[in-house]
Every structure is written in C-alpha cells, then in structure tokens.
C-alpha cells in the first residue's frame, strides 16, 4: 500500500496573530483586493463602484430610518416629521437617504452608458449586462416605492399616477394595478406593501444581483478599454 500523501499544511509564519493563524485572512484579502486591471482604465470606470457605494449608504441610512418610521396612514407623516424635527441627526440621515437615492439613479445610468459606449457588454460579459438591467429595474422600483412612504400629497398622487400607468397594460393591467394597490383604492394596504417591497423584497433582489454581478467580474475581469 502506498503511503498516504503528506498533508500540505502551511506552517504558521512567525509573527502571525491569533486570528491570522486560524483563518489566513491576509491571503484572502490579497486575493480579493489585489487584482490586476487592464491598462487604460479611467475614472469613467468608477461609476459602478460609486453606485455600489450609494447602495451601501442607502442600506445603512435606511436601517436607521426603519427604527423610527411607521408605515401606517395615521402615523407615517407624523413619524417622518419626528425624524426630521425631533430626532438628533434625523434630518441628516433622512436627507442622506434621499440624496443617495437620487445619486444612485444618476450613477447607475452613467455606469450603463459607460459600459454601452465601451462595448463592455459583449461576449463573455452578456450576463453581467442582463443582471445589471434587472438590477436597474429593481432600483427604479425602489425609487417608486420609496416615494410613497412619507405619505404626503406629492407621494400619494405620484403613486396614484404610477399605478394607473401600470393599469394601462393590455389585458392584465387592471389586475396589476389592484395587485400593486392591494385593492381597488390606494390606501393603508398600498402603503404597507410598498414599505415591504422597499425594505425587504427589492433590496434583497438588488443584493443577490450584486453578488452575481461582482462574482462575474471576479471570474472574467473587467474588459479592456477600447
């Protein structure tokens, strides 16, 4: 019988910390962060990363807002007013959330334009484009659902119009609009389901899309600039 192959354990280097000795995080960090990029990469290649940055800001500020916001018609406006006026740093957090949302929409389009102009969507990166477009739709849906949450006149009527646009879809439009509204009239259930979509469903979808998006960049590298 052949002898069992010798185990290839890496001997712990001198000076390694307790955690490093057990998990080898430095090697992981090197593999994740130190990646070669093609020559000629410009600042225009930053739009995707900046979009991701705004997403992180939105998640963090959104979690803070969720500590105070009440998604109910009789308390939504009051709780938003409380965040704005009484909560220390509340208006800062809420405005960060609002402006990051605006910035994300702008940056995600700039990112898409950059990828389009550079032709970076071509083989083998078609799936990155497809996942990106799906995330774009989810981001627009996040903007649409978030607009209603302050439960003010602007948000109420914008949602009214937006749902009526969905209702103009042939054949299934009426059901689509009722599904979005949670009934025949815009009301408590609409606010609640927009809230659920805004804080649970859509961010989860974007998160899953981001993991796929980044995994594909890892696998394929970023495309050479034209």
């Amino acid at each position: 019988m052949d002898a069992a192959p010798e185990r290839q354990d890496v001997a712990p280097e001198q000076g390694q910390g307790w955690l490093e000795e057990r998990l080898g995080l430095r090697r992981v960090a090197r593999r994740v962060l130190d990646r070669p990029v093609p020559e000629g990469v410009t600042w225009f290649h930053c739009f995707g990363g900046l979009t991701f940055f705004t997403f992180i800001v939105l998640v963090v500020t959104g979690i803070v807002l969720a500590f105070y916001y009440v998604p109910s018609p009789d308390h939504a406006r009051a709780s938003v007013a409380y965040i704005d006026s009484s909560l220390p740093f509340g208006s800062l957090v809420r405005n960060l959330h609002r402006w990051s949302a605006y910035a994300m929409i702008v940056l995600v389009f700039l990112h898409m334009v950059r990828v389009f102009v550079h032709g970076a969507y071509r083989k083998p990166r078609e799936l990155s484009w497809v996942v990106g477009v799906l995330m774009l739709l989810a981001v627009l849906a996040l903007g649409f659902t978030g607009y209603l949450l302050p439960w003010d006149q602007k948000g109420y009527w914008a949602t009214n119009v937006g749902i009526n646009i969905a209702g103009s879809v042939p054949v299934v439009g009426t059901y689509l609009a009722d599904l979005l509204r949670g009934g025949h009239e815009l009301g408590a259930l609409t606010l609640l389901r927009f809230y659920a979509l805004h804080v649970f469903v859509l961010p989860l979808l974007v998160g899953v899309g981001l993991v796929a998006h980044f995994a594909m960049i890892r696998k394929q590298g970023i495309s050479k600039p034209l």
Binding site: V161, N164, D178, A188, L189
Partner: protein, 162 residues
C-alpha cells in the same frame, strides 16, 4: 444524495410559495361593497350647497362616505363628483378623476367640457372623450333617489361611447 437535496430544496420552495403568495395577492381580488351615501337633497339647497334641481347643468359637489380601509378605523371620506340632472328624475353622477391617469378634472362652463390639467384630456357633458389620451369615458357612480335625496353607490366603468 444529489437528487435528494435538490428535491428537498424544491419542495421547501414550493410549500413556502404556496403559503406565502396567496396572502400577498389576495387583496387585489377582494371586492368591497360601497354603501349608499347621500349626495344631497334635490331642490331647496341649504346655503353653500349645490342645487341638484337645476336641469341640464353640471354641478360640482362632494359627498361623504364612511369607508373602512383594511385595519384602519372607519373614516368619513369626501369624494368629489359631478352631478348632471337630466330631467325626468334621471341623473348622471360622474367621478371627478380623469380616466387617463387619475388627475382631477374640472368643468369648463364656457366650452361645456370637462378638462383634465395633466395631459389635456377633454370630456363632454355626457362624459364621453372629446380629445386627449383618456381611454374611456368618465367613470360613474350608481345613483338612486329616495325621499327627494340623491344617493351615490358603487363606482363603475363605462366602456367606449355611452
């Protein structure tokens, strides 16, 4: 083992979907009955109230309905309508929202037309589309007259010319 794990995962997803989806889509298929609500007495209007006895004229008014919105306590809600007394005890009660995207329409006395400010939808006194993007005539409320009082019931749609 490979198949086993896949099947178990699929089964869990199917069960979660079967119990998770119905509550989410159910409210879209539930119909609530609209109660009959008084719009106003026909003739002899009190001060500040619309005169529903005037025939062949569009009267802009509101009526109050007590509606229950899901888990919220029942609440009185003002609804804007246009009432036309057609004579012979016949009425048209138009919903004030444009059938295009739901903006409120206003009655233009000089042109005898309803006009929507959002995208220029125009309706005539019968509620039919004269111009602009609205896909159907103005929606209407069921109505009835009881003891000289005009009541509004459920909202309904009219397809095409009416």
């Amino acid at each position: 083992m490979r198949w086993g794990l896949g099947s178990v995962t699929a089964a869990i997803a199917a069960v979660l979907g079967a119990f998770g989806l119905p509550p989410i889509i159910a409210p879209a298929f539930r119909h609530t009955k609209s109660p009959w609500s008084p719009i106003g007495k026909i003739g002899a209007p009190e001060a500040g109230q619309a005169d529903l006895a005037l025939q062949g004229q569009v009267v802009a008014t509101t009526f109050t309905r007590t509606l229950t919105d899901a888990f919220m306590p029942p609440q009185a809600q003002q609804t804007a309508v246009f009432v036309v007394n057609l004579g012979n005890g016949q009425f048209d009660v138009f919903d004030a929202r444009c059938t295009h995207l739901g903006c409120p329409v206003s009655w233009n006395q000089s042109t005898n037309e309803f006009y929507c400010p959002c995208h220029g939808g125009v309706f005539n006194m019968q509620g039919n589309v004269v111009a602009g993007p609205p896909p159907r005539p103005l929606d209407r409320y069921e109505w009835k007259v009881q003891d000289g009082v005009l009541y509004a019931g459920g909202l309904y749609r009219v397809k095409g010319e009416s």
